[in-house]
């Protein structure tokens, strides 16, 4: 059926801030959906609270609202816009839940607004465990014995009856939040309780564990004419038991016989047809490795992380097709955009192997529980494509950008056999490296299978690579060996290590002998039809299919997997760089390894190379494309780190030169510049020894900020207040200290701000200053921030501009750079300079209207600011005030301390804009799920040094009708000032007391926790336990008093004065 003509205006709901389990993939799907709808002539209204996305660009929809994703806020927009329909199935679980909530309020019926795509009843049937089970029963599809419970007692009764292990899956939570595998009664009691509390409907599915089964996923599409098809089948390397988002995944399925595959395909199609899905859908199945028995795990009635992966793995744009289906089109009338000649009704055939490996945040959260289970913990993922499974896997490993560059792990190497076995049995993020280590030590496939239940076929891939390591080692400089090694994905770096040569020696030998990669096309059809997809991957095989075009071209390096400190913001900047290049008439070539993002949508760039972002892989593309040069300023630290190596190999880095990049990044060189320019800087010293660090700290005076040099996102950065804390820090970071000097800085307590400047070598444009709400000490990525600044005088702003100009010109910046300042007593101190785009670029671009990444790209390509119509100086500030608030994923990461400090912990951000600061704050808090009741209970747990500061805050809470709860010390202090305070018992005192802090939290009597006990970092310390409990109970938690101050400002704004006349 052709598209519908009875609707004209469609609202698309995005997925909000990035959190674990809901990441950049929804920027990709949402963007695709909006563009697809506009392509068909509909007016699109987009709502999303996340400014760091491409989808919230004004070019993506006709109207873009960056507003909180709450019922009240979206209802307001609906009453302004009167859309004919809402498309909710492309904004992840958030978008879907929002549609459900809106429907419940009756506004959709009232205004006659239709929900497009899969019907609500179907969504409920798929998401409600009990209804879904019933459906499976009707269809004769097997599901593991299970029951839905609303109390812990019911859960235990079932568990004790069916037997353990038992899996807990909370209803309507993202990424399986709060779920887990329980091996006994006690574990079930604990996990079920947590799961029930996290479920918005206090409901969990408790089911018999089928851990050890093969885990298979199908991405399925269906249209309203009941055409249904499989886009992609994926097989998890890790058997059932580990969340698929935390599993290594291969596509196509590797170990299924046709009989098994077709049996599961039939099942998936039966399910999607029975559910009457209209659009994309994900079916997860478990197959007994020893029979034809299978179980249906779950169905996601919407596009998902897996569908983004499947789109990139096959080339088939699922979200785009889903949007077209939603407006009534059918698969057999939509053209397949990949081939241009065939129709969307086509099951892709792959002639390559895809491997996905999740990217976990444990490099940042060293104390977190790294065990993998049914709760997803990864923040992002990488994908790699090869012609052998080994090649795909090795490329994926080196795409991760972690300490391990191949299957060799130093830590695993030094582990005892016992530790290795432990690591194999209880999977953590690093299990792959322990698998390899086990094979190196002579464990047999059978041994390892016994411990891991991983299929022999998959284990052999790892074992084969280990065998090859030995073979490579024994055949130094042998060309046949080198050829074979490359075919199986070994990097030059790994070969160099095994041969004890330099990487360049290997590279030279390889190139001299014509052992160079070819690039093959991803075309959905295994070459059966002619395609012109500009989407390529490297492999060592016969024919090269990617050819340099006649056009002038530029390579843009992406930012790799989403991780804490380097999120979707950098993908935003990458995409904008591409757009600017295209507008200038260049062919823009993207290299990136992240399947979730917009930049790896092949329709964005002129050419996409899906490759690891290592020097070798990037150089290989450079060798082929012979471009004008490479742009490294937009892909975060990933691309900046490649600059020097590329330059050393004769590749031109466009924009700021490598020498100047280094002057900004190298502490000593940078200090020289600061001195030369006579700028203020917190005093700092560098030390390489334990004693040196302590001496430096004493020289500067406590508190000091300590961190290793060359780090991203404040990794391993801490503020220490005395010698014993410093010693503890050094003890915890021995390995870092060994490789890098430690930087010790005087810690300045002032207002922090961020600027991103664009410089063409002559003029410096400062689009805006973002003032942090929290004082220095909280990482800029975790701070709330406001634009325009609320507390800076014109004089301070002038100083900031002046320093920025000096730095940009002295550093010979051509393009974009980021500077962080501390403003204290009217003086401006430079903290650091990043000679690249920062995470604030999308936020500032959106609110200032200056497309910063595009302006910077034009500058990089030689168009001056003046030519672009911009003049030197700080851009005029708008009327609107915009606030950025960070969003965290603590509830998914057990044992990570939620206390905010210099090390970044947030995974995403939201924006709130309005005409007053207070209203903008309110929206930002609402977007970040900190919507507080008009009056409620606030628990104050304060470190002694903060007591003076808490008094005005407590008073303000009291004034707007909040009851204050505190332990004795704080309570006495506040009572002295005449405040009414409810006393609570400390964590470790009388645990059973009704008024014990933990009990107050558990019973839901607290609406907000303010906890500044930053020194309580031990797991059994009061401060840590209180924070954990708040996170577990979903109680808003603030750890900085500045944030509390801001929250009060927003709350006060909506409350009425209650003043007696006398």
């Amino acid at each position: 059926m052709p598209k519908r003509t009875d609707i004209h205006k469609i609202m698309v709901i995005g997925s909000g801030p990035i959190i674990i389990g809901q990441a950049a993939e929804f920027d990709y799907s949402g963007t695709q959906a909006c563009l697809a709808l506009r392509e068909e002539g509909y007016e699109v209204v987009l709502v999303n609270s996340n400014p760091a996305t491409i989808m919230t660009d004004t070019t993506i929809a006709d109207k873009v609202y960056i507003e909180p994703l709450t019922v009240e806020s979206i209802s307001r927009i609906i009453r302004q816009e009167y859309p004919d329909a809402i498309l909710p199935t492309l904004g992840g679980q958030v978008g879907l839940n929002m549609a459900l909530s809106l429907a419940k309020t009756g506004i959709l019926d009232e205004l006659n607004i239709e929900l497009l795509g899969t019907r609500l009843s179907s969504i409920e049937q798929a998401e409600d465990r009990e209804k879904f089970k019933e459906l499976c029963k009707e269809l004769g599809e097997p599901v593991p014995p299970s029951t839905t419970v609303n109390t812990v007692e019911e859960a235990l009764e079932f568990g004790d009856r069916i037997g353990y292990p038992i899996i807990v899956r909370p209803a309507f939570t993202m990424g399986g939040t709060g779920g887990g595998i329980c091996n006994n009664h006690e574990e079930l009691a604990k996990i079920a309780k947590n799961g029930l509390e996290l479920s918005p409907v206090t409901e969990c599915l408790i089911e018999k564990s089928i851990a050890g089964y093969k885990e298979i996923e199908f991405e399925v599409m269906r249209d309203h004419d009941d055409n249904a098809m499989i886009v992609c089948c994926m097989e998890n390397f890790d058997p059932v038991g580990i969340h698929t988002g935390d599993s290594i995944v291969f596509s196509p399925s590797q170990t299924l016989s046709d009989k098994e595959y077709q049996m599961l395909r039939d099942c998936s199609l039966r399910l999607i047809r029975a559910l009457k899905i209209e659009g994309g859908c994900n079916v997860q199945l478990a197959l007994d490795p020893n029979s034809f028995d299978y179980d249906v795990i779950e169905v996601n009635p919407r596009v998902s992380r897996s569908s983004a992966l499947a789109s990139k793995a096959t080339g088939y744009p699922i979200a785009k097709m889903a949007a077209k289906i939603a407006i009534g089109m059918t698969l057999d009338e939509i053209k397949n955009p990949v081939t241009g000649t065939t129709y969307a009704e086509f099951e892709p055939a792959l002639d390559y192997v895809v491997c996905k490996i999740p990217r976990w945040p444990f490099d940042k959260f060293s104390k977190a529980d790294r065990t993998l289970s049914t709760q997803m913990k990864a923040t992002g993922e990488v994908m790699a494509i090869g012609r052998t499974a080994e090649e795909a896997m090795q490329k994926a490993v080196r795409s991760l950008e972690i300490d391990e560059k191949d299957l060799y792990s130093e830590t695993a190497h030094h582990a005892s056999d016992e530790e290795i076995e432990q690591k194999l049995v209880k999977a953590q993020d690093d299990r792959l490296f322990y698998l390899a280590e086990a094979f190196r030590r002579g464990y047999s496939l059978e041994d390892v299978h016994e411990l891991t239940k991983i299929n022999f076929y998959f284990l052999d891939i790892v074992s084969h690579m280990v065998e090859m390591e030995k073979n490579i080692q024994e055949n130094k400089d042998n060309l046949e060996t080198l050829r074979l090694a490359k075919k199986y994905g070994f990097s030059d770096a790994t070969i160099a290590t095994l041969w004890n040569e330099s990487i360049d020696q290997v590279r030279d030998l390889r190139k001299k002998n014509g052992i160079i990669p070819v690039y093959k096309m991803v075309d959905t059809c295994a070459a059966e039809f002619e395609s012109k997809t500009p989407y390529f991957y490297s492999t060592y095989d016969g024919e090269n299919e990617s050819h340099k075009s006649g056009k002038k071209s530029v390579i843009v390096i992406g930012s790799g997997p989403i991780r804490i400190g380097q999120g979707v913001e950098f993908d935003y900047a990458t995409v904008h760089c591409v757009k600017a290049l295209q507008k200038m008439g260049y062919e823009a070539i993207v290299i990136n390894s992240n399947p979730e993002t917009v930049s790896t949508d092949f329709s964005i760039s002129d050419k996409l190379y899906f490759e690891p972002l290592t020097l070798e892989d990037v150089l290989n593309v450079c060798d082929l494309e012979k471009t004008e040069g490479v742009i490294v300023q937009f892909g975060g630290q990933t691309s900046i780190n490649l600059a020097a190596g590329l330059k050393d190999h004769g590749i031109k880095i466009l924009g700021t030169s490598v020498k100047d990049l280094n002057r900004a990044e190298d502490r000593e060189l940078f200090d020289q510049i600061i001195k030369k320019l006579k700028l203020n800087q917190p005093k700092g010293l560098t030390a390489t020894t334990h004693e040196g660090v302590i001496k430096a700290a004493e020289e500067l005076g406590y508190p000091v900020l300590v961190r290793p040099s060359y780090v991203l996102g404040g990794k391993a950065m801490e503020i220490v207040y005395n010698k014993s804390e410093l010693e503890e820090y050094l003890h915890d970071h021995v390995d870092i200290a060994a490789d890098h000097p430690i930087l010790v800085d005087d810690y300045l307590d002032g207002r922090e701000c961020d600027v991103d400047a664009i410089c063409d070598g002559q003029d410096v444009l400062l689009p805006g200053i973002m003032e942090h709400i929290e004082h220095a000490g909280v990482h800029s990525g975790d701070s709330m921030a406001v634009y325009p600044p609320q507390n800076f005088t014109d004089e301070v702003k002038d100083k900031i501009m002046d320093v920025t100009r000096k730095l940009a010109l002295t550093l010979n910046c051509v393009g974009i750079m980021n500077i962080q300042f501390i403003v204290r007593n009217g003086e401006v101190y430079v903290i650091e300079v990043n000679p690249r785009a920062s995470r604030t670029v999308p936020f500032l671009s959106k609110i200032t209207g200056i497309e910063m990444a595009q302006v910077a790209t034009r500058v990089i390509m030689g168009e001056s600011l003046a030519q672009q119509g911009y003049s030197d100086g700080l851009a005029p500030e708008p009327e609107m005030i915009s606030v950025k608030a960070p969003v965290f994923s603590f509830s998914k990461l057990a044992d990570v301390d939620s206390y905010l400090g210099p090390e970044m912990k947030s995974t995403g951000e939201v924006m709130g804009s309005d005409h007053t600061f207070a209203k903008a704050l309110y929206k930002a808090f609402a977007g970040a799920k900190m919507q507080l009741p008009e009056n409620g209970n606030v628990l104050l747990t304060i470190e002694d040094k903060d007591k003076e500061k808490i008094l005005p805050i407590a008073k303000r809470f009291a004034r707007i009708g909040y009851r204050i709860f505190a332990t004795k010390g704080t309570a006495d202090f506040l009572k002295n000032d005449g405040l009414h305070v409810d006393l609570v018992t400390k964590v470790h005192e009388n645990k059973n007391a009704d008024d014990n802090i933990l009990n107050e939290l558990r019973e839901g009597r607290i609406d907000l926790v303010i906890n500044t006990m930053g020194h309580d970092i031990e797991k059994n310390s009061d401060g840590f336990i209180i924070r954990q409990m708040a996170i577990q109970q979903n109680v808003p938690l603030l750890t900085a008093l500045d944030t509390a101050d801001a929250l009060l400002t927003s709350l006060e704004n909506r409350s009425f004065a209650t003043d007696a006349l006398k």
Binding site: N227, L331, E345, F346, D460, A527, F529, D541
Partner: protein, 362 residues
Amino acid sequence: MKRYLILEDGSIYEGEGFGADCESSGEVVFTTGMTGYQEAITDQSYADQILVFTNPLIGNYGITLADYESLEPQIKGVICHQVARRPDNWRMQTTLPKFLKQLSIPGLQGIDTRELVKKLRIHGTLKGKITDSKENAASIAQELKQRNITQGVISRVSTKNSYPVPGSKRNIVVVDFGIKHSILRELAERDCNCIVLPYTATAEEILNLNPDGVLLSNGPGNPEEMLTAAKMVQEVEKHVPLFGICMGHQVFALANGASTYKMKFGHRGFNHPVREIATGNIGFTSQNHGYAVDPKSIDKENLMITHVEVNDGTVEGLRHKKYPAFSVQFHPDATPGPHDEDSLFDDFMSMIDQRKEEERHA
């Protein structure tokens, strides 16, 4: 061991041999199926052909007795990018290389199969030879060019003697042009009592068995060599419900005045969407054919087109306008491939039952 594929256009592909180490020639064709290598290799429709798998990894789950599609496959070679080192599956009895060795089928891995497939797509199907040496490549190419490899191929794959596949319901005569076991499995699942006859069976022989229905099987080669069989169909269709699959479909078309042509590189794989014209329903089908029915040649008095391939419009199904007879180009029996169209066997059963009903009331 280094081995080579030499094509009739003189091109040489170097790879590593596996399976049997004999030399062999055949038409080089490719399949895009990502599973089902065993079913494909044992499919007699690949007789005299060298099969290239676009899926780069083959052999991952070994070989299982139960998944044979014929017992003496006549495929001439298997070409892939890589054979699995350590297959694993609970049903597996042997490995792909061992299996090929037993059957004297040579295999060649380490080939850039994508490059080869593109060549076949662009130039059309080419003849080729798997050999130990590339020294006489030019003369091998010359020789290949002149040979008609697939001539008379059905006589080599069809059963020599008729045999029964007992069941207790409808009596079906199956004419074997190179039948896949999957067709017999579908009939057995519906409890049919089958008798399989050689491709040379005459109308008289068939009708003498008093069948309730006749099924024309799949098979390799050029359908226009099957003129005798077409004659048989002309007579049989008048008397008994008839169902043709693949070669059977082409023979049915020829019997009713249509003609066939050789496709450029054929349909082999199982992601071909086929639309049933009457309902608009689309199913994904398993296909393996190098020839197709020319839609222009169809006599609209006798035949109607019931199914077409969504992308290239190939004739995928026919129905007789006067007799209870129909045929499909694809494999509703799948194996390997999707089961989307297996209800066609039920349609055949209904057609038979309806016919019986009519006869009873006549």
